[in-house]
Structures are given as C-alpha cells and as structure tokens.
Amino acid sequence: MNIDAQLYLNLIRGGAAKLAQERQTINELNVFPIPDGDTGDNMYMTIEAGSQMQGSTLSQAADEVSRGMLLGARGNSGVILSRIFAGIAKGFQGLQQADMGQFTQAMQCAVKEAYSAVAQPVEGTILTVLREGVDAAGNAPTLETFFDQWIAAMEQSLQHTPELLDVLKKAGVVDSGGAGLLCIAEGMRAALHGESIATMESPNAPQAHQTVDFNAFTQDSILEFGYCTEFLLRLQSSKVNLDSFDESIIKDWLESIGDSLVFFRDGSIIKVHVHTMDPGAVLSKCRQWGEFLTIKIENMTLQHHENHMDQRFKRARKPLGVVTVAAGKGLADTFRQMGADAVIEGGQTMNPPVERFLDAFKEIGADHILVFPNNSNIILTAKQAAEIYADAHVEVIPTKTLGEGYYALANLDADEAPETLVQSLTEAAASVTTGLVSRAIRDAEGVKEGDYVGITGKDILCSGASAEEAAEMLSEKLDAGSADVLLLMAGQDAKAPQALQETLQKKYPMAEVILLQGDQPVYDYIIVLC
C-alpha cells in the first residue's frame, strides 16, 4: 500500500487522538530534564496543532503538518516531536505519494532531523526510542508490518531507557517523551487499520496554569530551576543577510547561557526552547537578529512543585525509598536534600506512632524502604511498622541518635544492592560516637538545674555554665583529638555555634570540624565524632 496525503493526515490524527487519551499518564512519567510533569500536555498540543492541517499531495500535507507542529510546539519533547515530523516532511519532499522505500527513507530523515535539533543529544530519551524503532523496522515490506515492528522495537527500547539514564532509574520510570512517541505510533497504527479512537479531549484541553500553586514560589524562594523559555524568532532582513546568515551563532550563545537547548531553523523562522536563569537576557540578545512571533516563559520551580503535588499520589514505584525521623526544621530540610523521601516529625520528647510510618511507606511507593529512626526510643516503633507493612521490603537501620542517622544517610550509596546496604549503613551508624549537650531541667548529682550537661548514651560526662562550655568539655571527654571529622549540629537555642566551631578547630587541628545548623529542640549541640 502506498501512503498518500489523506492516509498520512489520518495517521497523524490517529496519533493525536491516542495521545489525548494517555496524556496524563505521560505527564506522570516526566522526570527528565526536570520533573515538571508536562510532557504529555506538550506533546499533545504539538501534534494536535499539526493534525488540523490539510494538503492535496503527500508532500504538501507533510509540509503543512510540519508547519503546524512548528508553530504549536511546546516544551522540550514537543519541539523534538515537531522535528521528527519535519524530518518526515523532508523525506516526502516533492512526492504525490510514497512507496515503502520512500516511506522508510522519510522515517530515517526523521531520526536525523530529531537528533540535529538537540544541542546535546542524550540517550535514554525519545531520541533513542525513535532511532531504535526505525532501525528495527527498516526492511519492513508493508506499512502494516512497519508499524508492527516499529512499535514492538520502541516498546523494548522504552523499557531500556532507565538503564541509559540514571535519573529515570532512580525515579523508577521510563522516559516520558519515548512513551509519548509510542502512544502516537499506536494511534497511527490504529488509524492505518481504520479503527477510530474516541478522544476524551476538548472540554479539558490542557491548560498549563490550571492548577499552579503560586504560593509554591514565595518572596523567600530561591530560583532553583530557572525559566523554561520558548519562542519563535522571525529573522529580519533589516537585521541580517538571510541568505548567508549562520544561525549557529545564536545556538552557540544560547548553549553558553542555558541548558536543555532545542534549536532549529526553518526558513526565516527560528524555534528555540531553552532553560535559563535570565530569560530577559535571552530575549534582548535574540532581538538583534529578528523579531518574535511567539514567546512563552514559565517559572520551572512552579512547574516542578505542581508536579510534585500530583506525584505524591500517582508517581510510579521507586526502587529505593528513605524515611527518617527528625525534630527541627534545619535537620528535616537537610535530610530531604540528602535524598530522604519522607521526614517524620519526632524525637526525644515526641515519639511518632506506627501509623505515621505506615502513611510514609504508602506515600513513597517504593520496592525497598530504609528507615532511620534516629532515637533509641523510636527504633521499636519503626520495626513494628516495618513488620506490618506488606507492600514493600522495609528495613530499619537502628540509628540511636540524629548524629548516627545523619552520618549513615550521608553514606547511602543508592547504586549499592539493597541486600548489602542495610549492613553497610548499620556499620556506618555504629562507627560514630555521639555526644549531646542539653540544659538540666532539675538538680542532680553534681548538676544544678539550668546548667548545661554533656551526655553520651545515658551517662552525664560533664556540665558547664554555657552550652558552648559544656560542648567543649564533652569533646575533650569523647577524645575528639583522635577523630578525623567532628560534626557539630547546632540546635535552635545554640548561642554561639560559629565561635564554638573555631575553638574546636583550633584545639583539634587534625580533625575537620564541620558545623551544621540543625535547629533541633532540646539539644543545644549534637557532637558526632567520625
């Protein structure tokens, strides 16, 4: 069967309809290049813009579809998708209709065009899935067998994407762009067989800002991910010589100031997608070559937060999850930055119940979960929760103090096999000595109420008039001079942590004294000797 304009347009519409159905599923897979959860929406809006086009010859239809997608392309994956169909259009150039040889050649053009649009192609993405699929279907004798082989190879390739891209492996998902392309291919195959796909669209057409929580970026927030900046630039003959202008000057500059760059030129139009901290500079610079047809700028911290809220309930299972217990905002934030998926509020004066652990396990949704209780009174509760929970293999690292938990978590190597991880982390926790400084709440032997005491385990080793004095004495008692590292965690009531750090560093030059603002209650200082 030859492919003509009508069949080609039907295939595109079939692909768009299928993607409309699976859009949300694709969104939830999105973790690369940043987890902004909009791959399904972006790819759908791109192909949808192309599916509304017409053309009497195959060449015209393919050009129109390509132009529609160029104008409608959104996001990294949407822009790459538009280049795939631009490549096909190049392959169909001048044809009324295409035979199998010409169709296969056009698909190879699609691969080439898609790779060339990305400044730094990354394997394990839509590019790999497309390339491996087209390679596998290269000698198919008919359109039907081409689609069967293409789809089968893309399914296989998609399953391998986590092996190629670490971020996917850690999140326990396959590549979202590749998954979107597979959906489109399935829709195209259904259209080839004359099947109709009912769309669930229109009333709920994607709206990027529909559920954005603007409070996710407050006056104190830090711009972590920058801005997703997309535009169509029409080169102006008053500004550049269109015949001799080398667009790589723009591409090189954009590469130097941003990342995730997707860039291509079609005649006098240049399409750009770039993640940058300073979109203003990008726009000012690019105006020296032309004027903008469209501009879209979004704060990716908001996109990420929005997606994070959705994924709390919907994300795919991770291979490994981490739960810690901590009191104090500083330590809780630190544990999250170190990779903890859930931080349960708790500590010496507030032991969390089993239910809190079970809720955390459920929310994480991982195959293996490691728990760091960080208090000897909480270890048993954590173990009970681990025994009750049936939906994951949960193991408790018996960390008795926040210091042990911090040290063990910093040693966690996610690439290590779960079977050996427990032992190595338990050994790491047991290898450190922890001392605590707290204010005495009543008189005791040799200690007056209001004094600061230095404790290790259940033993009071020293007391002083200030927390800093007690911390210095405690360090001496614990033989800080023989340690390689002394971690000093400052509590919420600590008065002079930096001065104490300097004092200890001078006193113990062979040890490295590292200060951490833990903001924990009860203990003015936690000293961890490693």
Partner: protein
C-alpha cells in the same frame, strides 16, 4: 617562523605565557547569569577570591566551547603570515571545543597550504598543564626546533601527575567530568574523594579520605610514592581559593622531602574552577607514571 600558543585552562596567565615565549593566548570562556566572560580579555587580573566566593554563594557558572569561526579568527593571522604553530593546550578528552578547532585548522590548511600546525595535548586541565606549558616554552626560547619540542613532549607529558580533592562535589557532579564518584552525600560528613588525571587525560576518582587532614596526607604520600626527581622539577600546587590549605600541603611536603623543595603555588583558572568549585587543592609533580 614558529609561533607558540596556549590557553587559559592551563592556569598559565598571559603574562607568564609571554615570559616563556608564547605569542598566542586563547581565552576559554565561562558564563555567569547569561553573561559570557573571557578570562584575561574581559578582565586583566583574575580575582581568584572574588570568583570562588561567588561560587560559595550558590552561583553555578557554565562553560562553553569556542566556535570554529573564533578559532579561524585566532589562528588565521599566523597562517596568513606563513608561520608554523605549536599549540600547547588542555586535555582533548575533556572538551568538545577541539572538534571546532580541528574544523578551523582543516579550513586554514586548505587556504594556506604549507603551514604546519602541531599540538601538545597536556592530557590535563589546570595546574598539571602549567609545568608542561612553561617547559615547552623554555625549550622554544632555548632555540629547540618544533620537532625537538614535540619529541620532548611525547616523553614528558605522561610523567606529570596531578592528585587533588575538593570540598563540594556538586560542581563535579553537575559537570559530569569526573568518573567513579560514589553516589553518596559523603562531602557533608567530610568524606573527600581523591581524584587524579588519568593517562587518557580524564579526571577519575579512585578513593576517599575522611577529613581534610587525611586528604592532604594522601596527596603528600602520592608524591612520596610516585615522585620521580621531584626536587629537580619542583612541585606545583594549584588551589581554588584555598591558599592556606595549599600552603599547609606545601609545608607538609617540605617537611617530608626537604626544606629546599621548590614549590610554585598556582590559582586555578575560573573556567576549569567552575567544574571543581572552591576549596580544592591539587598537587602536580614529576612522576614515575600518573
């Protein structure tokens, strides 16, 4: 006539390069807040402390490759004048910038046939390049021919070793230019990977030390273990705004190898430093092997 070129990623400043016979100096750019900066073109003196303080405050610069057109601009005057060129540069294995240079050189060779363009790949970046650049320049100044300098480099480049550590691995992780880094948050508890320049010219992490003192001792012990005529060649200690740590390592080396050990302290250039971050120290020395 032979003309010598080097670049800013070797840690050699334009002033030092000129003293050692170099007439060409290529500035390798980095970008901060969408502004591209060319070292020693956009500023005269490198403010080492100011730059690394900026990194400490959370700014993460990016680096970018030079375009083919820029390389043509740089080399064409010497090609046009019929001068042969020797470019002593940082490691090819760590950048794509030399692909653009190859294209530029191929273009210029077609346009100006007969001009000879040769390279010495120092198979390193920052301070390890410094002695190689300086010594190649000295040979040129002493009247050695292009082939004699190339012959010297073929023997000597692999005898220069560099071992180093840095405080914060987020810079290395982001750049993806060090292989073998453990996927832990170990730097939070003072665990420091020791990294070396491999014979292929790549940065490879091969072990970890707990605490800065042990990391410094590791560097000293490497010089003792692998050093070959270290006193004759001198030691080069590079740092990313950590002069006190660098001098402490220098002192430990002098205590170990003799007070007359000559040490040159070098500030690591901002472009390479964008990948390593502040508080890094590296020791470069003449070695049995890397």
């Amino acid at each position: 006539m032979l003309k010598l070129y080097t670049d800013s990623d070797t840690d050699v400043t334009p002033k030092v390069a000129k003293e050692h016979g170099y007439s060409g100096y290529i500035s390798m750019p980095y970008s901060v807040d969408a502004k591209t900066i060319h070292p020693y073109e956009d500023f005269e003196t490198f403010d080492c402390h100011g730059f690394y303080e900026m990194l400490r405050s959370g700014v993460l610069p990016t680096t970018s490759a030079i375009s083919k057109e820029r390389y043509i601009e740089i080399f064409e005057p010497d090609f046009a004048a019929g001068n042969d060129i020797l470019y002593v540069h940082f490691s090819r294995a760590m950048t794509a910038t030399f692909d653009a240079m190859d294209q530029a050189v191929a273009h210029l060779k077609t346009k100006y046939p007969g001009v000879r363009f040769e390279e010495i790949d120092t198979k390193g970046i920052t301070t390890i390049c410094y002695p190689i650049v300086v010594k190649a320049g000295d040979l040129f100044k002493a009247g050695k021919s292009l082939d004699q300098i190339l012959e010297w480099a073929a023997q000597e480049v692999d005898h220069w070793a560099m071992y180093f550590f840095a405080d914060d691995l987020k810079f290395f992780r982001r750049s993806g230019r060090v292989s073998g880094l453990a996927a832990t948050m170990g730097t939070l508890i003072g665990l420091r990977p020791i990294i070396y320049m491999s014979p292929e010219g790549k940065m490879v992490s091969f072990g970890t030390e707990k605490g800065r003192m042990k990391a410094m001792l590791h560097l000293v012990n490497k010089v003792k273990e692998l050093g070959l005529d270290a006193k004759q060649h001198g030691i080069y200690i590079g740092h990313t705004d950590a002069p006190e740590i660098a001098h402490q390592v220098g002192q430990m080396l002098q205590e170990s190898l003799g007070e007359d050990l000559q040490i040159t302290y070098v500030e690591c250039n901002p472009t390479a430093g964008s990948h390593s971050g502040p508080n890094g120290v590296g020791v470069c020395f003449h070695a049995i092997h890397r």
